[in-house]
Amino acid sequence: MHPDTFDPTAGGPPPEQRPDDGSRRTFIKQASGILGLAVAPPFISQAEKLAAYTGKVEGATEMKLKVNGSIRTLRLEPRVTLLDALRENLNLTGSKKGCDQGQCGACTVLVDGRRVNSCLTLAITTQGKEITTIEGLAKGEELHPMQAAFLKHDGFQCGYCTPGQICSAVACVQEGHTKNDAEIREWMSGNLCRCGAYPNIVAAIKEVAGKGDGKS
């Protein structure tokens, strides 16, 4: 993972600012950070991005997206949504296309740490930003705490809404909107589950929030 990548496990300070506990996890993070640096080209600055894109673009154009810590270069038309770019061009099919109208939340991803509907986001506008999808939450074989909690509490049935639910839930905990069940439900209302797994989803979020930074 690139060292400046948004850390979805956070609640506290970013990993490099945490006291060094010398754990295996910290070591892997540092090691993969160094590796990430070696692979990824220097990321374009905001100014360079503006300079590159103040001209009018017509038809397919080259764009660089930073997804789950690595830079991906794509050639896409401006009308391609972030959701379609992830699914069709980057083969990251975890994010789901439910309604494609911003009404169901199945496409929820994190952009610069904030949850958004990727179906209503144009890929071209996410250049220079950190995109985190469901595929970017686990650390290798180790599940993100929210993924583990969804498994433990059976927070899904068919699973179609689950990647969006989990991305949204990670942000919900980070935002601190987990005071009680009612607050969790209100702040998870942008993610619909037609199987009705809501009570178990709330239980999973409550557990992660409780373990985190005392915001629960």
Binding site: Y53, T54, V57, E58, L120, T121, L122, T125, G190
Partner: protein
């Protein structure tokens, strides 16, 4: 979705310049309404001009009150401490709107320009005077449960669906605009929205290419004691059936100033100034609130499926007034 040209505007000059060359261009901020309607082919701009880099930012206290940059996001304004404490109706209207994801995306300027949610407007298989002037209005004799009961015409009965504009119009907000020629002007929100009349395609007094740069709201006791109450079919993440934004300054049991606006009942965010005038100088009692609510709905013209809104709007208004009178 049709294809379109795209550019990121580094300055207001570049953004408005794009409009001079291309009358079919559209500005892109959060995109939550625009992309939705483009996917439905309701809107088909030839070009999108991304204005997210423009410096219309900041949520600040000024000597006159509150100033919100047009590019601020709904979530940031809704959870801003100053807005929550001094202008609670504005914060509540934002946090009861849409979903957390959409609030993270949508800008304040774009929110104020969101289009109607009339199902016929959104469906190109149907005629719609707003979408295609002169083609007819299937809502008048069709499904009209969600439609307007105030400010309608025989051309259009679509209701303005937003929340924020209702709170802002109650609290005398002013829009700051910049024209395509770089000229700045200010428009009270009360004069910004238009009823459909014979030109339902025109919803605001915004000129082609004009940009919203900021919204200001005067500080007032009735702003500090304000509330936004939203009534929906679902508990959350739904448009209002009716909503009320109210503010009261009550001293020793007597109302010194009142602000009253209604949402999802009018063809535009509906300020009820006659109701406000009735309340001033009166005691803050349920009887007076009921009289004001009756006056606010006096001109209501319901259609087949939305007659319930007349009573629901009055009850919502009374409850909101009781809550702020405390």
């Amino acid at each position: 979705m049709n294809n379109f040209a795209f550019q990121t505007a580094a300055s207001a000059k570049q953004a408005t310049g794009a409009f001079r060359d291309d009358k079919q261009a559209a500005y892109l901020a959060g995109g939550t309404t625009l992309l939705d309607l483009m996917k439905l082919n309701v809107l088909q701009p030839s070009q999108l001009v991304d204005i997210n880099s423009l410096p219309y930012r900041g949520i600040t206290e000024t000597p006159d009150g509150l100033r919100i940059g047009a590019m601020e996001r709904m979530s940031d304004v809704g959870e801003n401490a100053l807005v929550m404490q001094q202008y609670p109706a504005i914060s509540e209207s934002l946090l009861l709107a849409a979903s957390p994801q959409l609030r993270n995306m949508a800008s304040i300027g774009g929110n104020l320009l969101q289009r109607t949610r009339c199902g016929y407007f959104r469906d190109t298989a149907f005629p719609c005077n707003k979408r295609q002037p002169g083609s007819g209005c299937p809502a008048i004799n069709g499904e009209n449960r969600n439609h307007a009961i105030l400010g309608t015409s025989d051309q259009c009965i679509a209701t303005y669906p937003g929340d924020l504009a209702v709170a802002l119009i109650a609290l005398d907000a002013v829009l700051h605009l910049e024209s395509a020629k770089g000229k700045a002007r200010r428009v009270p929100l009360l004069d910004f929205y238009l009823t459909p009349g014979n030109t339902p395609q025109r919803e605001t007094t915004l000129e082609p290419g004009e940009l919203i740069t900021a919204v200001t709201v005067p500080a007032a006791e009735h702003a500090r004691k304000s509330k936004y109450l939203k009534v929906r079919d679902r508990a959350s993440y739904a448009f209002a059936l009716v909503s009320a934004a109210v503010g009261l300054d009550v001293q020793g049991g007597t109302i010194r100033s009142a602000r009253v606006a209604l949402g999802s009942v009018g063809t535009k965010p509906w300020r009820a100034q006659a109701a406000e005038q009735l309340l001033v100088g009166k005691a803050a009692t349920e009887a007076n609130f009921r009289a004001a609510a009756a006056l606010a709905l006096q001109g209501a013209r319901p259609h087949k499926h939305n007659a319930f809104k007349v009573e629901l709007a009055q009850n919502t208004l009374v409850r909101a007034l009781q809550d702020v009178a405390g």
